[in-house]
């Protein structure tokens, strides 16, 4: 409790540099060692502390997470069928993926489209609403809850029916189009539009990133805005100079995680397409295809190979994301 005044002071202290646009802040060290005196003994005690803090995670990593991961890597070089023992087949699975499987290439295309269209849209939506619902209006917590509700429904089994109530032949979209004299179609069940309804479904469940953005907005010290107002900065300027830079770690987090999660999207296409990625493979997501291969066609070895290729793809994209973040993400712990 004695620390509170200090906190206020230092927070104000950082106000100066943060008001400057983020681009002008110097290139920063991220996870680097901070130079200090009495380095070795302090560093050692810090390392010990770190390992203690990380102990549960280390146990989980070695006992629960890594084992199955390595097992799946091994299985990706076998013909494992789940029902019978595995036999080593070398790189056959990987060869087949890239040379002889048109459906695989199609699933990659479908998923990439889905990720690159829906993630930016969803994040823009979530950030916009988080800003609108942050302050300055009565009943905000009511609105927030309302806008979060779709995300609660998003993964439910009922969504297959509910989505047809919107985009089906008798859905409200067609009713709406009918008023203007257009004859609609079954948007969910037409190969040219099915994927787009899933993209809309993804954007519709923007609740999670919205909440994270809101939490991030709450983390911004209000006195920065005070100081900015005293300096005569307008709303837009405050947004550009305070809100946006201080929110960049959260924007970055949401971007990284949404890319990872969307590449692994499964439930929505599974539930809406009835488990086959149809019509004509137009909603065949990567993980849905993987699931079909592993659990419906009993080619778990092949599915494991698909999983590891996906890991490489997501890993590469995440690495790019991290590299780019040096240029636009601002951390409060940088000096």
């Amino acid at each position: 409790m004695t620390l509170r005044p200090a906190a206020a002071e230092t927070a104000t202290g950082t106000a100066g540099p943060t008001v400057a646009p983020p681009a002008k802040t110097p290139a920063r060290r991220r996870l680097h060692h901070r130079p200090g005196h009495r380095k070795s003994s302090r560093a050692r005690s810090q390392a010990w502390a770190a390992y203690l803090f990380l102990a549960p995670w280390f146990i989980g990593l070695f006992v629960i997470t890594l084992g199955p991961m390595i097992a799946s890597l091994y299985l990706s070089f076998t013909d494992y069928s789940l029902l019978a023992p595995a036999h080593w087949v070398g790189t056959d699975n990987y060869d087949k993926l890239f040379t002889a499987d048109n459906r695989y290439m199609n699933s990659l295309k479908v998923t990439t489209t889905y990720v690159f269209v829906s993630v930016p849209l969803q994040l823009a939506f979530a950030l916009g609403l988080a800003l609108a619902l942050d302050k300055g209006l009565r009943g905000l917590s009511f609105y927030r809850s309302i806008f979060y509700l779709p995300s609660l429904l998003g993964g439910s089994v009922a969504i297959s029916i509910l989505w047809r109530k919107i985009f089906g032949v008798d859905g409200i979209v067609n009713t709406f189009l009918g008023w203007f004299g257009y004859e609609g179609q079954g948007w969910v069940t037409s190969p040219d539009t099915a994927l787009w309804t899933l993209i809309i479904l993804h954007v519709w469940t923007f609740g999670a990133p919205m909440v994270i953005f809101l939490a991030g907005l709450r983390q911004i010290p209000q006195n920065l805005y005070e100081a900015a107002r005293v300096d005569g900065a307008g709303r837009l300027r405050q947004f550009r100079s305070i809100t946006l830079p201080l929110l960049t770690p959260i924007i970055f987090f949401n971007a990284v995680l949404e890319v990872i999660k969307s590449f692994q999207s499964f439930t929505q296409s599974f539930v809406v397409s009835g488990g086959n990625g149809g019509p004509v493979d137009s909603t065949l997501f990567y993980t849905l295809y993987l699931y079909i291969k592993g659990f419906k066609n009993y080619e778990m070895g092949y599915a494991a190979a698909m999983a590891w290729v996906l890991l490489l793809i997501i890993g590469a994209l995440t690495a790019v994301n991290f590299l780019m973040s040096r240029f636009w993400v601002f951390y409060g712990d940088d000096n």
Binding site: G274, V280, K296
Partner: protein
């Protein structure tokens, strides 16, 4: 590389499984068996009471029901099998039979279950490579369902199902659509392989033979042409509308009184009737001109099987025997898993069946003399329904020409079945 990975995988798993517990906990000297099945809450209730009846008759055996919804059933079953935890008694349907039997998951049932009282023709559908691996729970046919009231309302008379042709069917449906002014479709259709199987059987072709697809390219294309004609003449709705309800009997167009005809499995008549609230009847499928058979066939609704790893296969056999042969079990389960094939059971439960099921029973009796043989899908056939669906949809949505699609279908089928 191979060795290192394998060793790492083994140690990793061994590490996580530090305390290797013993799996068998004998609860008071009782033999415990696990029975896995899928379905909805109503089936769960019936099954639980059948289990209770069995336990009463066999107080030393304890049966645990392992129930799951259909969408996740096989995934769960496969995972358990992989872990050596396969349930003692497993429900399986026809597409999975060759897969599971072929990979050594299922035990041979000779001597474990008394099959003498069952319909021997249907029983053959539980054999793989001449050995009995599975006992059919009951049978279904794939008939045309008709709402006669809707037909009459739009001035059509119910057809004579012994003589009607595909053209009659389409023409009649088209008139219904036309006269209703678009309120009602003449017919809905279904991409179910059973439909194609009947269509092919009328031309003397089998779906599968010698572990391969035996359909000719022309037959597949003609079948698509038939569906296209339904769409083009407005006898039935477009493909997008059809896909919305195509596999769900409770939302089917016949179940919501939006069409006069529809083709469904016979055990779905009850659901369809409940949805529609009107009288629905069963008809033989229309024939191709000059066909000598209607192509109708009986297919096991599902099977009971026993795991080859089961340590209690005697108790498991007893349980399966009870389910298919004991009139008490029949009186509880009724037609939930298809109509029983044990004549003794059928007589015992006849009076208890719902009016819809009575109709199914009468219908099956009527077509008895005109049945095509059942063709059991070979190993790899789990994928076949989706392969057909994909090819069919690509034709209906104009994504591929029938020629291309038929070739794709046959080559994809070949590679799926050759694994």
């Amino acid at each position: 590389m191979k060795r290192i990975l394998a060793a790492a995988a083994v140690t990793a798993i061994a590490l996580s499984a530090t305390a290797c517990g013993s799996g068998d906990d004998d609860s008071g000297g009782k033999t415990k068996i696990v029975f896995s099945y899928w379905g909805s809450d109503s089936r769960q209730k019936l099954t639980e009471s059948a289990i209770a009846a069995f336990e009463q008759k066999n107080p030393t055996i304890d049966v645990e029901g392992d129930f799951s919804d259909w969408d996740s059933y096989y995934e769960k079953l496969a995972t358990k099998t992989a872990a050596g935890d396969a349930p003692d008694v497993m429900s399986i349907e026809i597409r999975g039979l060759a897969e599971y039997a072929g990979r050594g998951v299922l035990a041979e049932l000779n001597g474990k279950v008394d099959t003498a009282g069952l319909d021997q023709g249907v029983l053959k559908a539980g054999q793989v490579g001449g050995k009995q691996y599975a006992i059919p729970t009951g049978v279904n046919a794939f008939p045309m369902i008709v709402n006669k009231k809707t037909l009459e309302k739009y001035g059509e008379k119910a057809p004579d199902d012994k003589t009607w042709t595909w053209d009659d069917y389409i023409a009649m449906s088209q008139k219904v659509t036309e006269k209703s002014g678009g309120d009602v479709w003449g017919t809905e259709y279904n991409e179910n392989p059973a439909f194609l199987q009947i269509f092919a059987a009328q031309r003397g072709e089998q779906y599968y033979a010698d572990g391969k697809v035996a359909l000719s390219e022309q037959t597949i294309k003609d079948w698509w042409a038939l569906i296209k004609k339904i769409i083009d003449t407005k006898a039935g709705p477009g493909a997008d509308e059809m896909l919305e309800t195509g596999t769900k009997p409770d939302q089917a167009l016949v179940a919501t009184n939006k069409s006069a005809f529809g083709s469904w499995w016979s055990n779905q008549l009850d659901t369809l009737t409940k949805g529609s609230g009107q009288e629905l009847d069963l008809l033989r499928m229309p024939k191709a001109p000059g066909a000598t058979t209607s192509g109708m066939f009986l297919q096991p609704a599902m099977y009971y099987t026993i795991s080859s790893k089961s340590e209690e296969s005697a108790a498991a056999g007893k349980f399966v025997d009870f389910l298919v042969n004991d009139p008490d079990a029949g009186a509880i389960l009724l037609s939930d898993r298809g109509l029983p094939t044990n004549a003794k059971v059928v007589t015992a439960i006849k009076g208890k069946l719902s009016p819809a099921d009575q109709k199914v029973l009468a219908f099956m009796d009527a077509i008895k003399g005109d049945l095509s043989p059942i063709s059991i899908p070979p190993k790899g056939a789990m994928e076949m329904e989706d392969i057909l669906k994909r090819a069919t949809d690509s034709v209906l949505f104009g994504k591929a020409s029938p020629d291309q699609a038929a070739k794709t279908f046959l080559s994809e089928a070949d590679s799926a079945l050759s694994q």
